[in-house]
């Protein structure tokens, strides 16, 4: 019976050993109860998942194949929305490029700053707790408030350019300059690097001290200690931050919306603001859904690449043989 094999994986039967196949059609009352509670406790999540995630996702696949203004009946157009986005719409490619640019710079930059700060905060210095608090603080400020403050910070004669002026650098007009608006968004993202720092710091705290002691006896410099002891031990957390950072960067929305609304000349328009405008300002739900799925594919591809390459550089102690 083929279904016996399938049933072996049924959650309710998880505890059963493989050898007991013959008695499987009769569940003991204890296992029945267990199965009942399994479904009872998982159901809130399952209902939420099917009703509010899987359902809308399937619906959006359908919508992406139609032309729909959200008011009148959708009209089937096949793959036209996809071909339009990929071949005709210059804004789509611009937005995709902007999104890549942002992700390609902000994610690595955030990780480098995060590791650097975490390493500093891991040193036994006075006021360490205070510094830790300060570095995490930006993450706690609501994004809208941060963005408003950054409008002032990034003003052409604002504090940031004043600071650059001390070094003889004539700062650009950040948010109103096509070339500099994306770097401006990246500056804002770097400000929130404290979130990654906290995770990395806890990973660094978990590194056994004897590894450093042994390294010191062998005459390793602090730099060497960092690369040969600290870094390999925190790669799983770096990897986690990389994946979350990639997904977050590809989905950047609020910062763009508040700071520039995508301008000037679409220079800061990224994928999510693009699909938001298409859906909720121009009433092109079909097109917006197609853009959403294209973005999904892009994120999926990059996440896969990250996972594939992770074997080469992510170190799990439990895997050491």
């Amino acid at each position: 019976m083929s279904n016996v094999v399938v049933a072996d994986e049924a959650p309710g039967a998880a505890r059963e050993s493989r050898g007991a196949g013959r008695r499987r059609h009769k569940m003991s009352s204890r296992r029945k109860k267990e199965a009942f509670y399994f479904w009872l406790f998982i159901s809130p999540w399952l209902i939420g998942f099917v009703g509010f995630l899987l359902g809308p996702m399937i619906a959006s696949v359908y919508i992406s194949l139609t032309e729909w203004d959200s008011f009148t009946a959708p009209e089937w157009v096949g793959l036209q929305n996809y071909t339009e986005a990929l071949t005709e719409d210059p804004v789509f490619w611009k937005a995709l490029w902007n999104t890549f640019y942002y992700a390609a710079v902000s994610v690595p930059l955030g990780l480098v700053i995060g590791v650097w700060l975490a390493n500093l905060l891991n040193k036994r210095v006075r006021g360490r707790k205070l510094f830790r608090t300060f570095i995490y603080l930006p993450t706690l400020v609501p994004l809208v408030a941060t963005a408003m403050v950054f409008k002032m910070v990034l003003a052409p004669s604002g504090p940031l350019n004043d600071m650059l002026g001390w070094f003889g650098i004539d700062g650009p007009s950040w948010l109103i300059d096509e070339t500099w608006v994306k770097p401006a968004l990246i500056v804002l993202s770097a400000w929130g690097a404290g979130g990654a720092t906290v995770l990395l710091l806890s990973a660094m705290n978990g590194i056994p001290r004897e590894l450093y002691e042994a390294a010191e006896i062998d005459g390793a410099s602090p730099w060497r200690q960092f690369w040969s002891v600290t870094f390999p031990q925190v790669t799983p957390v770096i990897f986690f931050n990389l994946i979350m950072g990639l997904i977050g960067a590809f989905q950047i929305f609020s910062q763009v919306y508040i700071l520039t609304a995508g301008g000037p000349n679409n220079a800061s328009k990224t994928m999510v603001p693009l699909l938001f405008d298409e859906a909720f300002r121009f009433y092109h739900f079909g097109y917006a859904s197609a853009v959403a799925w294209l973005l999904f594919i892009v994120i999926m591809a990059f996440t896969l690449i990250a996972f594939r390459t992770s074997r080469k550089w992510v170190f799990y102690e439990t895997e050491v043989r």
């Binding site: 499987r24 899987l54 359902g55 008011f71 007009s173 121009f282």
Partner: protein, 423 residues
């Protein structure tokens, strides 16, 4: 024999899917029972809420059997929320609409009101003047004007006196305005004008030149010499003559800085904006006045306003129209000006003492400027693709407004793009 464990699992999944579907259905089916209450949605802030509610209270006290439930939505979320309501089959009875009215009417989400207008014996021309035609689309009326005021010119009397310039009047031409700006500008410190980067401002210049954004046959006409000259002039005032602050200079003044706050701070001598400017200025220290905007080859100025419409979801369109009729009649419209919210669309109210000398106005404020301007308001093209048209302008003119540039080049690009946007 079906394996029991498998059956259970199947049943569990089926139950989950069913429950999930039920949860979804419940979201869609949240329609309230019809108890004669009218739902009315408007956008705005506290003052708007207070004013609309006061008008509704008037209506309810005269029609005790009808209740109107007011829902105020913050302006930046309005379009999205209303769209969701309508798409969910739960549109309001009465809905405030403005420039993008025909995004809805062209998709038959609003009821044509002509029958109701006729049935109620409402004379649109008599009550609203030219504004009565503002919300018609393909010969049918989709909204009744509710608020409607021309853009007017605010000027700083002290700065004018100090520079020895006569106060502006409707008789000014673009050249007069530019000459005044020159005298009113102190480089890097004070500017003669706040700039004209907003559609309502530079489009006024285009129509003053005799141009049109969308021509009479419904085609875009934005790269005609008239429109090009207007846009170039507006830009030159900022980047060639420096009579108006540049984008960088505004950004340095503070976050979300623009003409209105800069005028209230006394840094710019003239600012063209709507009635709402008054609210901010009543509390400012500067000595200000208002006048109609200058003209060009002809006089033309844009207007701001909104109308009240009835959505196709309304269970009770007759009652909803009765309410709109009342809300746009003299008594309820007077509240709009008493509370200093906006210019009422009703022209009888615009000509009344209540409007011309409101209790809150500073001594000698020329409220007649609104009535005077109403004679040369141009009719902005409220096409169904309004939002996309605006986005096309904003996208292409981003750098132009931030750094200066050539109007013809930009408008040629915009013309091509608009031709594909507008069917």
């Amino acid at each position: 024999m079906v394996d029991k464990a498998q059956w259970r699992r199947g049943a569990g999944l089926a139950a989950t899917v069913l429950l999930g579907a039920a949860a979804l259905a419940a979201c869609g089916g949240g329609e309230a029972e019809d108890d004669g209450t009218l739902k009315m949605v408007v956008w705005g802030g506290d003052l708007d809420k207070e004013t609309y509610q006061a008008r509704i209270d008037l209506y309810e006290s005269e029609n005790p059997d009808t209740k109107i439930e007011l829902q105020l939505i913050p302006s930046d979320q309005y379009a999205q929320k209303v769209q969701t309501m309508i798409a969910g089959g739960d549109g309001p009875d009465i809905m405030q609409v403005a420039e993008n009215v025909n995004s809805y009417s062209s998709k038959s989400q609003l009821l044509p009101l002509d029958e109701y207008i006729e049935g109620a014996g409402l004379n649109m021309e008599e009550r609203f003047g030219p504004a009565g035609e503002l919300y018609t689309f393909e010969d049918q009326t989709y909204a009744i004007p509710d608020r409607s005021g021309a853009m007017i010119l605010y000027y700083n009397k002290d700065l004018f006196d100090a520079a020895g310039v006569e106060y502006p009047t409707a008789a000014w031409t673009q050249q007069d305005a530019q000459a005044a700006m020159e005298k009113l500008t102190i480089p890097g410190e004070q500017w003669g004008f706040s700039g004209a980067g907003w559609w309502a401002q530079w489009w006024s210049f285009a129509y003053q030149n005799g141009g049109q954004i969308i021509d009479d046959s419904g085609k875009p006409a934005v790269n005609t010499p008239e429109v090009v000259d207007a846009l170039q002039w507006a830009n030159d005032l900022q980047y060639k003559y420096h009579y108006a602050p540049t984008a960088s200079e505004y950004a340095d003044m503070g976050p979300d800085m623009g003409g209105d706050p800069a005028f209230a701070a006394g840094t710019v001598a003239m600012n063209a904006t709507g009635f709402w400017g008054i609210g901010g200025l009543l509390e400012s220290d500067i000595n200000w006045g208002i006048a109609p905007l200058w003209g060009g080859k002809e006089q033309a100025v844009s207007a701001f306003g909104s109308g009240l419409s009835i959505t196709r979801d309304s269970d009770n369109p007759e009652k909803a129209f009765e309410a709109i009729d009342f809300l746009t009649d003299t008594e309820a419209q007077t509240v709009i000006i008493d509370k200093a919210q906006d210019v009422p669309a009703n022209i009888q109210v615009q000509q009344s003492d209540a409007f011309l000398s409101p209790a809150w106005a500073p001594e000698g404020l020329n409220m007649a400027a609104f009535g005077e301007s109403s004679e040369f308001i141009f009719r902005a093209p409220f096409i169904p693709e309004w939002e996309e048209m605006q986005a096309t302008f904003n996208d292409n003119l981003g750098t132009f407004w931030n750094e200066g540039g050539d109007a013809k080049t930009e408008l040629d690009k915009i013309q091509t793009q608009l031709e594909s946007v507008i069917e």
